[in-house]
């Protein structure tokens, strides 16, 4: 009996081995590990481009529509030495996960490459501001974008017209706007305290305006905490405190318990007057917006005496990176150049309703304002001032909790600055 069972076990194991259908990319096959899911508009455009590429250059492509967890499953692939050539994600994540661990190569040489079927180089057709925030001083850049996102305060133009509200540029004008909204029974700013993505916005943006681009990043990385001693941090804290219900109460009524998709729904249904979010929000809320809703946006207000460039906008590119150990580096570079063609940029804008980083491609009307602010921008800054990529644990364990505290009104401006200093010191002691 024992023998019978052992034989059975062996047969089963052998069967498993022979029947397994392992998918290994073959030589010369370009492997793409995508952040998009099958069926998403972005996936359609990319798939078409890859198929065209495959035809034009006679190469095999292996497209993997993994989804937003692509960086997680990428690990299993890289560790087991399976070839992956191209991977994409938002720049902050690529930098935080892949660049920080030296997994992807520098793409500055791709900027010099000619765009297939066109006369210009990649560097000439891409809007510099779409990636230069991520470019290091030596000119190296480890990701090249095919999608550009920025953030702003979004509003309904029709509503603003009806109530004769003016689009604010400075903080004082912003406060005037919120007053007018409150008079008209509108909750000024939609917000969700329990959603990390939103919580990070106001603190980092206020710091960029008041202390300049990169200030938060430097202060986050300073183990002595000295950079947080700058009195301007108190001012930042006070601004944040004024948003809270203990301050000037600019946030929507249930902001402390609102979670995605609550805030954007409340905004698009006309309960809140503005909503600070990335430029994906028009397409995400289109199906819920009323027929008269007109999307418009304005940038985060400037502050008197602020060191930040008043025209600066947030840079949130989504793009491709090439893995260092890729078998097909040249092919991958060629694809990046290939995808920069005008026809794909136009298709991108048309199908996905996002902005293209390519010069001269007009976006959908909902995104016009955001696009104009990008065109006017003389400087750009990284999403969350780069702290999510450079100091992810600090971002998660120090920045977000303290931001939540001040935005809920539990601590005031002075305490905000104090806490940032103390917790940063503590954080670096332990890490």
């Amino acid at each position: 009996m024992f023998k019978k069972i052992s034989v059975l076990v062996i047969v089963v194991l052998v069967g498993l081995l022979t029947l397994s259908n392992m998918v290994y990319a073959e030589e010369g096959e370009l492997v793409y590990w995508s952040m998009w899911e099958k069926g998403e508009p972005q996936q359609k455009v990319l798939e078409e481009a890859f198929n065209d590429f495959s035809e034009e250059f006679d190469v095999e492509v292996d497209l993997n529509w993994v989804g937003r967890d692509n960086l997680t499953t990428l690990k299993t692939r890289t560790l087991s030495e399976q070839n992956v050539d191209l991977v994409d994600k938002k720049a902050e994540e690529i930098y935080g996960a892949l660049v920080a661990n030296d997994m992807v190569k520098d793409l500055s040489n791709v900027l010099e490459m000619k765009v297939p079927n066109e006369d210009n180089t990649v560097g000439e057709v891409l809007i510099e501001e779409s990636y230069n925030a991520y470019q290091k001083e030596d000119g190296t850049v480890h990701m090249l974008p095919y999608n550009f996102i920025t953030s702003a305060f979004w509003y309904d133009k029709a509503l603003f017209r009806d109530l004769s509200i003016e689009v604010p540029e400075t903080w004082d004008e912003f406060l005037v706007m919120t007053e007018k909204m409150k008079e008209n029974d509108l909750e000024p700013v939609a917000f969700g305290l329990q959603t990390g993505v939103y919580v990070g916005y106001f603190p980092y943006l206020t710091s960029v305006r008041i202390l300049g681009e990169g200030a938060l990043n430097r202060a986050a990385g300073d183990p002595s905490g000295k950079l947080f001693e700058d009195p301007a941090w108190e001012r930042v804290g006070e601004v944040l405190y004024s948003f809270s219900k203990e301050g000037d109460n600019l946030l929507m009524e249930n902001y402390e318990s609102s979670v995605y998709p609550g805030p954007q729904m409340d905004w698009v249904m006309g309960i809140a007057g503005t909503f600070y979010c990335g430029s994906w929000i028009p397409i995400e809320t289109k199906s819920a917006a009323g027929p008269d809703f007109e999307y418009g946006s304005f940038q985060f207000p400037t502050f008197e005496g602020g060191k930040g460039d008043p025209t600066a906008v947030e840079s949130y590119p989504i793009g491709m990176s090439i893995l260092k150990n890729s078998d097909n580096v040249e092919l991958a570079e060629k694809f990046i150049a290939f995808f920069s063609q005008e026809k794909y940029a136009e298709k991108w804008v048309e199908v996905t309703k996002n902005m293209s980083p390519r010069k001269g491609v007009e976006p959908a009307p909902e995104l016009q304002d955001a696009y104009q602010s990008l065109m006017k921008a003389e400087k750009t800054f990284r999403l969350y001032d780069g702290v999510q990529a450079d100091y992810p644990t600090w971002y998660s364990n120090v920045f977000l909790p303290i931001s939540r505290d001040v935005l809920s009104g539990n601590i005031n401006g002075k305490e905000f600055a104090e806490q940032m200093r103390i917790q940063t010191i503590k954080h670096w002691k332990q890490n």
């Binding site: 099958k38 069926g39 993997n64 199906s287």
Partner: protein, 279 residues
């Protein structure tokens, strides 16, 4: 200190229970109703009826996203895994339950602890191992991984079950001169048959829901099981803000599970009662 627990009136608990049941039914009713609404309607009010019982949400979900294939994948993978798990777990559960040999307590305890091993802890080493066997991104590999990770729990469940089958029947067989194997196969298994079928159904439902292993081990979209399909669907639809479509997708996935469960409910219930119910 003496606490006197005064009698809790049955009617109070019954009201609570009725509320619980109603809530559950409402939840599902609301999901179904919302799946016919447009996104805007969903937010306009909980109790409003959809303006048109349009099937657009369903049509979109079915045509655009490959849910059907993923259901087939799940069926293949989960059924096979369940069978394998039973084949592997039953003999050892029997042995650990009935035959007290030197290490049996220790082995039982290590299986119980095995239930507690979180998948995130082992999936990278496991992936690397399976990769060496060339079994990643394959349905067969997934079957194997599902089987192996279900063993500790199934063994524990079956040990509880075997514990209640009276030893007297076996002893009688042994006195009559049967070998160990004969005793196991001819007497134990038939008695345990209903329990095994029930355990199988129980494991089936657990694996049907499982998604993190699928996420790690399956890369090709055509090999996705339904749990992964649903997860992708949810991701896709939240990014386009199509909440009506999301509910339609959820309903499409829930319905087979609920129907399957209702039909097999009796056996199911018996399965969970292993070691507890009448044998």
């Amino acid at each position: 200190m003496k606490f006197k627990l005064s009698e809790i009136p049955k009617y109070l608990i019954n009201i609570f229970l009725a509320f619980w049941i109603l809530f559950t039914i409402f939840m599902f009713g609301w999901i179904i109703m919302s799946s016919f609404k447009t996104t805007r309607e969903i937010y306009l009010g909980v109790w409003t009826l959809p303006s048109t019982f349009e099937l657009t949400n369903y049509i979109n979900v079915l045509t655009e996203f490959g849910l059907l294939k993923s259901m087939v994948n799940s069926l293949i993978v989960v059924s096979t895994s369940t069978l394998l798990v039973l084949v592997l777990s039953t003999p050892i559960a029997y042995v650990l339950s009935k035959l007290k040999f030197k290490l049996s307590n220790f082995i039982t305890f290590s299986f119980v602890i095995g239930i507690g091993i979180p998948i995130q802890t082992i999936f990278i080493p496991l992936y690397l191992l399976m990769n060496n066997l060339k079994l990643t991104d394959s349905l067969i590999g997934l079957i194997w991984v599902y089987t192996v990770t279900s063993i500790p729990f199934t063994v524990y469940l079956l040990i509880n079950f075997f514990n209640t089958i009276p030893s007297s029947l076996e002893e009688a067989a042994r006195i009559d001169g049967a070998t160990a194997f004969q005793s196991f196969i001819k007497i134990m298994l038939p008695l345990a048959r209903s329990g095994l079928i029930s355990a199988g159904i129980f494991v089936f439902v657990m694996l049907w829901k499982e998604f993190i292993l699928a996420l790690v081990f399956i890369g090709t979209e055509s090999k996705q099981p339904i749990s992964l399909g649903l997860y992708s669907l949810i991701t896709k639809l939240t990014y386009t803000g199509d909440w009506g479509g999301l509910f339609a997708g959820v309903v499409l996935v829930i319905i087979p599970s609920v129907i399957f469960y209702s039909i097999l409910a009796r056996k199911f219930i018996a399965g969970l009662t292993m070691g507890i119910g009448k044998s």
